[in-house]
């Protein structure tokens, strides 16, 4: 478990206290390395495979994606590679499309609702698991299962559970006297259904990260609060939560960046339907590029690039927050 406490993001258990001496050592180490530096060429020789890899399999696909979005591709010109350059026409077309507004709105709703519930439930469970009781560690490990399952497995399981006629969820609703809901086939419910499945998948991540954050709060703080007479809810609101804020910020920002790009769950459960009711930017981009008989690569790439911009804005905020906490 050596490396668990030395992991990069988000600062886990006890890091605050362990980091100070570690940094001292780093200074000594740096001085030593400088004296015996085997030379920059060796350093870059080791880095070359990674740099080549990043250029070939990150930069180049991204470049091709931008290029796709700036040309008017048809199936034939896609193969021959002679599509005419059309500038930002694809972007204009996409933004003016009737799907754009709803897709953007669904992305926002899906992301915000997912984050709120994942975080709240994850935090409540993390608080619960800070108490010491038998089987605590085992149960916490079991909570990781939904997060580790292939998304196609969890998505198809939820599809069947939410089936209108034979799903177990409607069977339970019927047993307590409620009307069955057309979870996946009604435009009013489809977005909520995929959001519920996504919340379920995201809880473990929030639980584990917030739990390690809670472990890092020294026990004396709680004892001091107890002596001052702060109990229960007050202690959580005034003491625990403020101390957990850095870890919470990181958890939420990471969750945000990852929820924005969720595609598998929605595509497998509803394909973005019925009639676009659960279409987000990610599924729309996929449908444009791959979902139809006649692929529209140009607009598909344009939607994708808009999504990248949104994700990167929040991604840069994340990196900033993390850096600031690292130096604080």
């Amino acid at each position: 478990m050596e490396h668990a406490t030395r992991t990069p993001a988000p600062p886990p258990a006890g890091d605050r206290r362990e980091r100070a001496p570690a940094r001292g050592q780093g200074g000594v180490r740096r001085a030593l390395t400088r004296r015996n530096r085997p030379g920059q060429w060796a350093a870059w020789a080791f880095l070359t495979p990674l740099v080549v890899y990043l250029l070939a399999f990150y930069a180049y696909p991204l470049y091709r994606n931008v290029e796709l979005s700036l040309r008017d591709y048809t199936v034939r010109s896609f193969v021959r590679g002679d599509a005419p350059f059309t500038g930002l026409a694809n972007y204009l077309k996409v933004v003016r499309d009737a799907t754009f507004g709803p897709a953007l709105w669904h992305t926002v709703v899906f992301t915000v609702v997912s984050l709120v519930f994942q975080f709240t439930i994850g935090l409540a469970l993390a608080m619960f698991f800070t108490r010491r009781f038998r089987l605590s560690a085992t149960l916490r490990a079991l909570f990781l299962v939904p997060w580790l399952l292939p998304l196609i497995v969890s998505s198809s399981t939820w599809s069947w559970m939410l089936n209108s006629d034979s799903g177990v969820v409607n069977a339970v609703l019927g047993a307590v006297g409620l009307v069955p809901v057309h979870w996946l086939t009604s435009p009013d419910w489809a977005l909520w259904s995929v959001t519920i499945a996504n919340i379920w998948i995201g809880i473990p991540f929030n639980l584990v990260v917030l739990h390690s954050g809670l472990q890092a709060i020294p026990a004396q703080v709680h004892e001091a609060a107890e002596i001052d007479g702060a109990t229960g809810w007050t202690r959580f609101r005034r003491v625990t939560f403020p101390l957990l804020r850095p870890v919470s910020a990181i958890t939420l920002l990471l969750g945000l960046v990852y929820t924005l790009k969720v595609f598998d769950i929605i595509w497998i459960m509803t394909k973005g339907g019925p009639s676009g009711a659960s279409t987000t930017l990610a599924t729309w981009s996929y449908r444009l590029g791959f979902g139809n008989l006649l692929p529209a690569f140009g607009p598909g790439a344009a939607v994708g690039n808009l999504l990248i911009v949104i994700a990167l804005v929040f991604g840069l905020v994340y990196i900033r927050v993390q850096r600031r906490q690292g130096t604080a």
Binding site: H3, R29, R37, L62, P150, V153, P204, F290
Partner: protein, 273 residues
């Protein structure tokens, strides 16, 4: 450990929470054993009474090639990820290359690019180079899920290796390559395990790249096997869920055998697409 009744009360509550959380997983297993004629019963069978292995027989008959492909893709992704990321991390952690900070920043950004977008770029490239619908092409694409994470994990781990160890190697006359291979890499065993676990799991679970870059391939991974199943015979949910159960085996095995590595990976800001 608190004494007496109070601890047990918490354990009981914890078991209830866990059971609620894992209900979908239980349901998947339950449905995988349910007979076709019981599938649309109302209320459903809560336990696999009159269970059948029909679904599993179906899987063994039809899905084995898919499972084999997933295994190859998973192992290939692990190998490629380790080869690219371990030496680079060694350099970033110990050799202090100029421009290393920028590279670290780019890796963080790389993790945030949505898979759908990478898939479209890969599709355009693969189509013109003829790599579309091949296993190596899928391995290459899947490795992009793991490489940035792997470099970050290795770099943090290798920065923590005591200076004396590498110094001693250097005093004995070992060059950078020798130090990396005979000292740093063996000591980094835990990081190698964590990285391999996640690289395998992500490649095994990948659906985005499989469905775009291997749609028409002769060798398709298990995620596509399940996906075709859902599309083709909507009625046979026991077979679909049996496939899902079998596709979950690697995740379960990893959790049981390597729990501490998994937890380490999650808190490292693990990415899941």
């Amino acid at each position: 450990m608190r004494a007496g009744g109070r601890g047990w009360w918490h354990t009981g509550l914890g078991v209830v929470f866990t059971a609620l959380m894992l209900f979908p997983v239980y349901w998947m297993i339950n449905v995988s054993f349910t007979r076709d004629q019981d599938m649309r019963r109302s209320p459903p069978n809560w336990f696999p009474v009159n269970g059948t292995l029909e679904g599993y027989r179906e899987v063994l008959g039809r899905q084995l090639p898919y499972l084999a492909t997933s295994m190859v893709v998973g192992l290939g992704t692990v190998a490629l990820t380790l080869v690219v990321s371990a030496p680079a991390a060694y350099s970033l952690a110990r050799l202090r290359p100029r421009g290393g900070g920028v590279l670290g920043f780019l890796l963080l950004v790389a993790q945030m690019i949505p898979g759908v977008i990478m898939a479209m770029g890969f599709y355009a490239i693969y189509l013109s180079t003829g790599v579309l619908n091949t296993v190596p092409g899928l391995i290459l694409a899947d490795s992009t899920l793991a490489v940035p994470f792997a470099v970050l994990i290795f770099t943090t781990f290798m920065s923590g290796i005591p200076e004396e160890l590498t110094q001693a190697a250097r005093v004995d006359g070992a060059g950078a390559l020798r130090t990396f291979w005979s000292v740093v890499l063996p000591v980094s065993r835990n990081a190698v395990i964590t990285v391999s676990l996640f690289a395998f799991l992500w490649a095994w679970s990948d659906f985005v790249f499989a469905s775009t870059l291997d749609q028409g391939g002769d060798h398709q991974p298990i995620t596509l096997g399940i996906y075709h199943y859902i599309g083709n015979n909507n009625q046979q949910w026991n077979a679909i869920m049996a496939t899902a159960v079998i596709a979950s085996i690697p995740a379960t095995v990893l959790l049981v055998l390597a729990q501490r590595y998994v937890a380490a990976g999650v808190t490292a800001g693990a990415v899941k697409d």
